[in-house]
């Protein structure tokens, strides 16, 4: 019974699609976050003068400030992208999978 249940879900194309899509999305977004954050931290560790450069010659605002605010917004936007896609696509697939095993 239990094995049959697992088998049904595992063979459900919706389940395969869900896993594949989710894996691609979470890996992509996680890597983007890690790459952006670690580039930021390592650039500060190895070459702090880089982010200390003003964005315009007559401005006191540095690239560091712009990049820092960008990292914060970037983190928020990534959560927004994930939430949007998951709400739209993953929940529908999950619903289909659940319907297919109803009553088992």
């Amino acid at each position: 019974m239990k094995n049959e249940y697992i088998k049904t879900i595992k063979n459900d194309p919706n389940y395969k699609e869900l896993l594949q899509r989710r894996r691609r999305l979470t890996l992509g977004l996680s890597l983007s976050m890690l790459v952006v954050y670690f580039s930021f931290i390592l650039s500060i560790a190895f070459k702090p003068s880089l982010l200390g450069t003003p964005i315009f010659s007559d401005s006191v605002i540095t690239y560091g400030i712009a990049v820092g605010i960008f990292v914060i917004l970037f983190a928020f936007i990534l959560t927004g992208i994930y939430t949007y896609i998951a709400n739209k696509k993953f929940d529908a697939l999950t619903q289909k999978i659940q319907n297919n095993v109803k009553g088992m």
Partner: protein, 554 residues
């Protein structure tokens, strides 16, 4: 220069989660408007506790507020749980003092959230019931895994509580003119009342109200500052650089060596994802969809808050620094410079006075108090659930506990933790607690997080691997903190640290993962085989929510 800055960073780590005020604390005069607003807040929250107490009947109500909190509410409550008084005062104080480096620091505390969303939030909600140990022990052997997870949780909670209590005692002493011991007892007693009677429902609403008050107050301050500069950052920043020099616009010495930088980043990212009071919040929503929305909103609120603290720090540079009203003349006479009353971490508090007078100062002081209460309540609830749900119900009673008795145990545990927190708070008043929060994050990152994430995603994980690897991670974190610069040199007075880095996470997390990996793949027992076979079913549930704990009726 670098050395003194490292010290400042260290102190602000504690500050972030604790609100410790550096230097000698002088008791201030009673602040009447602050006390009025504080009484208003306490009255309102006790009213909520009374309302929540009548709805809190079962363990499910107690641990998860019945599971009917919406994603938006939970996002706000998570933000309320995470933005401590200290992140407000500590980060704005760091910006006030060092400018740009304060921003680097706050970014570190934010970037763990997207990772929590992508990897943890939904499977956690789908697999668990009341605590993250539910997930870790889903297909593994209950007794050892729960015991280890509960140890990690209780250790994290108590360390964090010590930092909070000491910080709150000092902060309240300074803001309200109360004696340190009275302040600590007051915080402890209020927290016990909220949690024992109102459980998660009261705690959630205290956190939501606090998040709202903190965000409103900080928004007003940032707005008032920007208003003085025609809403031009260029004008604000150039005025600030005239006062403190151009270097406040660039990275200073926060992450001077790459190993420390990476280790701190690992501690913040994975530590956040292993904090039991944060993880517990995901069980208060009805399903994975609401869990996901919670993180989206929480990340928005927390990110917005950090941008505000950056503006507030710069606002304090232009409005508080060298302002005769806020200079600490006694301390100036001894050490020169322009110290402000209560130390740099009071920059935001003085700014609230500079932009809004006594009334707004009172408001911000009351908000700081509310913030402390919200954070300690969440912590205590998480600790109590580890004791009653994981240790009592699952380990001692093997899952056959009477719900009524389990409730009683969790309430007794709450009172006990409250008393422990008060005693520790008083004991540690004059101790150097700079290592405490760092250690809490290190334990969360090295013991809780690896077990949790591998139990969700790695089929070959076995009980033996999780127990040995998790314990090794825990032991490594504790050992390296003790042998590190803060405890070994600053507290124990040795000349040189045996372990040169302040943050052990990079090493202890690696040890934990390697240990879990090695002792899992070499585990050929029958039990291990069964655990690996059970993964499929678990993974289906974690991905689809089929069979997950349902929402409540109310």
């Amino acid at each position: 220069m670098n050395r003194s800055f490292l010290f400042i960073i260290l102190s602000s780590i504690v500050l972030f989660a604790s609100g410790t005020i550096e230097g000698a604390i002088e008791k201030q005069d009673l602040n009447i408007s602050a006390i009025m607003m504080f009484i208003l807040f306490v009255g309102a929250t006790l009213g909520i506790t009374y309302w929540a107490a009548r709805k809190t009947k079962s363990p499910k109500d107690f641990y998860t507020a019945g599971g009917g909190i919406t994603g938006f509410q939970n996002g706000m409550a998570i933000a309320g749980d995470y933005m401590s008084a200290a992140s407000f005062l500590g980060i704005s104080g760091l910006v006030y003092m060092k400018g740009y480096d304060g921003l680097i620091y706050s970014i570190g505390f934010l970037v763990g959230w997207p990772i929590i969303l992508f990897m943890i939030a939904e499977p956690l909600r789908n697999l668990g019931k009341y605590s993250f140990a539910d997930v870790a022990s889903y297909r593994l052997k209950q007794t050892p895994i729960r015991s280890l997870a509960a140890t990690g949780s209780i250790a994290t909670v108590i360390l964090y509580l010590i930092a909070q209590m000491v910080g709150s005692g000092k902060l309240i002493q300074l803001l309200f003119g109360l004696e340190y011991e009275i302040a600590v007892i007051l915080v402890g007693v209020l927290m016990i009342l909220y949690v024992t009677f109102g459980g998660m429902l009261a705690t959630t609403w205290v956190q939501i109200i606090k998040a709202f008050l903190l965000l409103s107050g900080a928004t007003f301050m940032a707005f008032a500052v920007m208003n003085n500069y025609d809403f031009s950052f260029e004008k604000l920043f150039s005025h600030a650089t005239e006062i403190k020099g151009i270097e406040i616009m660039s990275p200073g010495g926060l992450v001077s060596d790459p190993i420390s930088a990476i280790s701190l980043a690992v501690a913040l990212m994975f530590g956040t994802a292993g904090l039991p009071h944060i993880l517990m919040r995901f069980f208060t929503v009805s399903d994975a969809k609401e869990a996901r929305k919670s993180v989206f909103y929480a990340t928005g609120f927390i990110g917005y808050f950090y941008i505000l603290t950056f503006i507030i720090g710069f606002g304090a540079i232009v409005m508080v620094f060298e302002n005769p009203e806020y200079v600490d003349y006694a301390s100036q006479a001894i050490s020169g410079g322009s110290p402000i009353i209560g130390g740099n971490n009071m920059a935001a508090i003085h700014l609230s006075h500079a932009v809004g007078g006594d009334f707004f100062l009172g408001f911000i002081s009351a908000v700081a108090f509310a913030t402390i209460l919200a954070v300690v309540s969440g912590l205590t609830l998480a600790g109590a659930s580890a004791i009653s749900h994981d240790l009592y119900s699952s380990v001692i009673k093997k899952g056959n506990a009477d719900p009524k008795v389990e409730m009683r145990v969790s309430k007794i545990a709450t009172v006990a933790l409250g008393i422990v927190a008060i005693i520790m708070g008083i004991m540690f008043e004059n101790q150097n607690i700079a290592f405490v929060v760092g250690l809490a994050f290190a334990i969360a990152a090295s013991a809780n997080f690896p077990i949790l994430i591998l139990s969700m995603y790695w089929q070959r994980l076995t009980t033996r691997g999780a127990v040995i690897g998790g314990s090794l991670g825990l032991a490594t974190a504790v050992t390296l903190v003790v042998l590190g610069p803060i405890v070994w040199v600053q507290i124990l007075g040795n000349a040189e640290a045996i372990f040169p880095y302040k943050y052990p996470a990079l090493f202890s997390v690696t040890v934990s993962f390697l240990g879990i990996y090695f002792f899992s793949i070499t585990d050929n027992s029958l039990r291990a085989k069964e655990e690996q076979e059970a993964f499929e079913m678990q993974f289906i549930r974690s991905q689809t929510g089929i069979g997950a704990e349902g929402a409540s009726e109310h």
